[in-house]
Symmetry: C2
Subunit: 142 residues, 2 copies
Amino acid sequence: MSLSPVKHIVKTSHKSGLSFESGIDQYRFSMDTTSSESQGAGPSPKKLMLASLAGCTGIDVVSILHKMKVPFSDFHVDVEAELTDEHPQIYHQVNIIYRIKVAEDDQSKMERAVLLSKEKYCGVSAMFSHFAKLEFSIQFNQ
Amino acid sequence: MSLSPVKHIVKTSHKSGLSFESGIDQYRFSMDTTSSESQGAGPSPKKLMLASLAGCTGIDVVSILHKMKVPFSDFHVDVEAELTDEHPQIYHQVNIIYRIKVAEDDQSKMERAVLLSKEKYCGVSAMFSHFAKLEFSIQFNQ
């Protein structure tokens, strides 16, 4: 397997209580526990992985729809994930639900965009597929 | 394998360009592409996974040090990740570097806290271990 010359580096610092702040490029944001010790500084690290998954495939899909010149609106990506019961708890079943408004004639292009993200482009869903069963579905809205 | 009755749900919406906004519980934050089409709305979804890893194990370690009554300061978790060259690009080698100030007598307790996070508590590193080679190291600072 060949490696990319690019390395990703993220630096994270303990703040107070159980909260941490990460720096990703020029962006900073906080995370916190979901236990009773939370200070409400930010989301749970584990759930952040689900946002990462939605953002990765969402960016792919928008990018592909732009290239296909497909007009769309009200695009959302919902991620619903079930955890194992034993510890360490990992995501076992993950449903990715795309909700979008496109013309009926363009629905097959949206299906193609989701397939391309899943099979070719989205590194995050490729990583998830190593530990979870992923299901992709599309809800076409009016 | 038994599943937890808890389900994690994260909702993410397309904003403009290639940017998205996620809602995790009461928290909202944005993600964006790192390509030339970026509007600078937020970090890359993929790098967010590295913050998730740092936050997960960081929270474990602080929580364990608190239980062990180990005083510490200047605690940081750096994550350095190498990507595969082929697409979809995934993290292949991930180094987690803990940097902390603790009394010399407490260094073995810090080592124990990292080991417990790795082997028992941190679901995010358990998920990463399905697709990446993980290396853990501790740097004790004065």
